[in-house]
């Protein structure tokens, strides 16, 4: 210590404590991982609301089971790894809400519970926790129960007559068309007055929440744009070639397409980093959805399309390394 500094320390009553740290010494205020995650929860609110309005306490039950199980699973698995439990980053809560919204109202409690544990355990923690997972955790959980309990989550599993909730007695619009050629009206698809997974039915709610996410830049607009573009192109071609009653608009507003495009495919952890990569990712999701919807035995394909493109994400990242300025 130099003379000068010694003097200074002695002279001032409250000597300042000087820190050193690498630059930059400023950080943007009010921006944290936690706030980004909170934004997603806010954007999910209209979907939760419509789910509760349409499916009444079935929706509340599903959400409650998923929340309790996901947060519990996160605590348990992180404790097992001797790490600090980070429930306050809300990522487990998002997984829970998205998982619940992707399940049918009729699914028994153990389906939601198992899906939650698989989502957090195999979908996320096993890879090293938040930010390290390759696949969208909620979709991993859903895929597991979809295969393990095929009949409960297959198209017929959605139907349940004798309940106070009217829509539950109907087949899902996509299944009704696939099996019986019954075409739902566009307005019922838009407002969500149909059977289906809890969060997917209302295209309107998905658009409100999704646009909020894009404006807040929490979700990248390139992904939903890519999905919609490729669905419009593929659906338009299918319209021209097959003269089907299920038009491209039904494809967009029906099923989980908008829910998937805005809330599932946009998970930043499992999607590419650059805007070009994100767009390619979105186009890929849209193309696989259309492929599965038109040619496969499943009426819906959003979940598998997202998981497939998740697997391709490292490859897309490698293809789309941006050209540096002057490079």
């Amino acid at each position: 210590m130099t003379e000068k500094k010694k003097n200074q320390t002695q002279n001032s009553t409250a000597a300042p404590v000087i820190h050193v740290a690498p630059s930059p010494h400023l950080t943007e205020q009010g921006l944290s991982t936690q706030k980004i995650m909170l934004d997603v929860l806010i954007a999910l609110a209209p979907l939760v609301l419509t789910a509760v309005i349409i499916f009444k306490w079935y929706a509340i039950k599903q959400l409650a089971i998923c929340l309790v199980c996901c947060l519990g699973a996160e605590t348990l698995f992180i404790k097992m790894r001797n790490k600090i439990v980070t429930l306050n980053d809300y990522s487990a809560a998002i997984t829970a809400v998205i998982l619940a919204l992707s399940l049918p109202a009729t699914a028994p409690w153990y389906v939601a519970a198992i899906a939650s544990f698989v989502a957090i355990g195999i979908g996320k923690v096993i890879f090293g926790g938040l930010g390290m997972n390759i696949f969208n955790p909620a979709m991993v959980g859903r895929a597991f129960v979809m295969i393990a309990f095929a009949s409960l989550l297959g198209a017929s599993g959605y139907e349940y007559s004798g309940s106070s909730v009217d829509v539950l007695s109907q087949a899902t619009p996509m299944d009704a068309f696939k099996q019986g050629g019954v075409v739902a009206t566009l307005s019922s698809l838009f407002w969500g007055l149909t059977n289906g997974s809890l969060g997917e039915t209302s295209a309107f709610a998905c658009l409100i929440g999704g646009i909020y996410l894009c404006i807040r830049r929490t979700a990248s607009w390139e992904i939903p744009a890519g999905v919609l573009l490729s669905v419009v192109v593929c659906g338009g071609l299918a319209d021209l070639l097959t003269n089907s009653q299920w038009t491209v608009f039904h494809h967009i507003f029906g099923g989980a397409l908008l829910f998937g495009a805005f809330f599932i495919a946009t998970d930043p952890v499992t999607s590419p980093l650059t805007s070009r990569g994100k767009f390619i990712f979105g186009v890929g999701v849209g193309a696989f959805v259309m492929l599965l919807r038109i040619f496969s035995g499943y009426p819906e394909g959003v979940m598998f399309a997202v998981l497939l493109m998740n697997a391709l994400t490292p490859l897309i990242n490698r293809w789309t390394i941006p050209r540096p300025l002057g490079g």
Binding site: K4, Q8, A14, P16, P22, S23, E28, I321, L325
Partner: protein, 454 residues
């Protein structure tokens, strides 16, 4: 090609970048003040990019102000002159805020000194002609610049004569004088533009003559309307264009500034010269005028002493080699809430604690941040939100570079062009997960260079 006012003033810019708080108000209204001549100065022998200077004085030798103390140690190096009159003392070594440990000359003040207003007049006063400069040819100008030991005063301290010497293979058509000052807090360039715009104009004309540039631009960010109007007045009739640019960080970075004004991209690993451009700071331009027209070396510079942790923020005309402690004392000392002392600005400056270190030619400011300015939040996981990708002015993928560096995956880092990063800090500023991206990238670059040397 070229900067046209048709685009609208204040619109010209580069892609990406961030908007940190400007916080110029601490010192922007403080007129340049001359600090009392110190009792001694310590002059590190390496104050520029390139080779160190070689001392030509011996202990106990008497020197006058402006006397040559050390010679350039090569072409890319600079002369060093005494800012005060006095006696040379024993050589010392000092640790600069950037962590470099360098030998230094020590001069103890002795005898008559030029100080106060007389010093200010000597440096900024008098007439700065904009006509009749034809009598200086390129060689005369570059020689004078080289002799005066001028380096880039924006912070990088690249020897100025190296840029100005004409190169037959790489003709220069454009000179850009950089008055952007995009770093938050700092105002030395702003005060110079307000208080001595004529010296900048003179220097710009001379530099353009030396380099053979036909187009001259002075790039200023839109948030400095006073400086813009003063410069426009001073530049009228000289053919110099004042390019008003969007206020965005890092607008004052060389490659970003060239892109904003000329739409030319400087290739990776190349110099502005390769696209026919020379960029020089406004402070350096004023020094060029002083060196050529008055034959005076670079001995003093304007330093902003600013930030919430300083009692009275000021813009100080200080002799090179004065200690940071003396500068801070001249501005009333530290407040009790001072938490971090930075040489330079908060985005790219170096935090340090040893106030006995001397300021060098490249020191544009001392920023003292308070407890509430700095946030020591915990690092959380990267969720690949991509905000750093949207912020990077070099169009890199900072999170990839940082994590590849952390995992010592140098091949991956190289594939993502880690060497193109110039550590502006936009990514770490914006990162919601508080990742120390710049620090990690620095480490990765160092590891990669070490690996290449093997």
């Amino acid at each position: 090609m070229g900067f046209s006012s048709k685009n609208g003033e204040g619109k010209g810019t580069f892609p990406h970048g961030v908007h940190p708080p400007e916080r110029k108000s601490f010192s922007e209204e403080a007129a340049i003040e001359v600090m009392p001549q110190p009792e001694k100065v310590i002059l590190p022998l390496l104050q520029n990019i390139g080779a160190p200077s070689k001392s030509i004085v011996k202990a106990k030798q008497t020197v006058q102000m402006n006397d040559l103390l050390a010679e350039a140690g090569g072409f890319v190096s600079s002369n060093l002159h005494s800012p005060i009159s006095g006696k040379v003392q024993k050589n010392v070594s000092v640790t600069l805020p950037n962590g470099r440990h360098v030998p230094a000359l020590q001069i103890k003040a002795d005898g008559e000194q030029l100080s106060g207003l007389a010093l200010r007049d000597d440096i900024f006063g008098g007439d700065w002609p904009t006509t009749g400069l034809e009598k200086f040819d390129s060689k005369a100008i570059t020689d004078a610049v080289q002799k005066a030991g001028i380096v880039g005063l924006g912070g990088a301290a690249f020897p100025t004569h190296v840029k100005l010497v004409p190169n037959d293979k790489k003709p220069v058509d454009t000179l850009i004088i950089n008055g952007c000052e995009c770093e938050p807090y700092l105002t030395p360039d702003y005060r110079l533009m307000i208080e001595a715009p004529e010296s900048i104009i003179s220097g710009a004309l001379l530099a353009a003559r030396a380099a053979g540039a036909k187009n001259i631009y002075i790039g200023v960010e839109k948030n400095k309307p006073k400086a813009i109007s003063v410069l426009k007045k001073a530049a009228s009739g000289t053919g110099i264009t004042i390019a008003v640019l969007k206020t965005k960080y890092p607008q004052g970075s060389e490659k970003q500034l060239i892109l904003a004004i000329t739409k030319r991209e400087v290739p990776l690993g190349a110099l502005p010269l390769d696209v026919g451009v020379v960029v020089s700071n406004v402070g350096s331009a004023a020094c060029i005028a002083r060196a050529v027209l008055r034959n005076k070396p670079l001995t003093h510079r304007i330093i902003s002493v600013t930030g919430g942790g300083i009692q009275t923020p000021k813009n100080v005309l200080a002799p090179i080699g004065v200690s940071y402690g003396e500068l801070i004392d001249f501005c009333g000392g530290l407040k009790s809430n001072a938490a971090r002392i930075i040489s330079g600005g908060p985005m790219m400056g170096f935090a340090f604690a040893d106030l006995s270190a001397p300021v060098t030619k490249g020191t544009s400011g001392v920023t003292v941040l308070t407890q509430s300015d700095i946030h020591t939040e915990n690092e959380t996981s990267c969720v690949r939100c991509g905000r750093c990708v949207d912020a990077c002015p070099m169009n890199l993928v900072p999170t990839r570079l940082a994590l590849a560096s952390r995992n010592k995956n140098l091949d991956l880092a190289e594939r993502y062009n880690i060497m193109a990063c110039f550590e502006c800090g936009s990514c770490a500023y914006i990162c919601p997960a508080n990742l120390p991206i710049v620090q990690l990238v620095r480490m990765g670059k160092a590891l990669l260079m070490a690996q290449k040397k093997k």
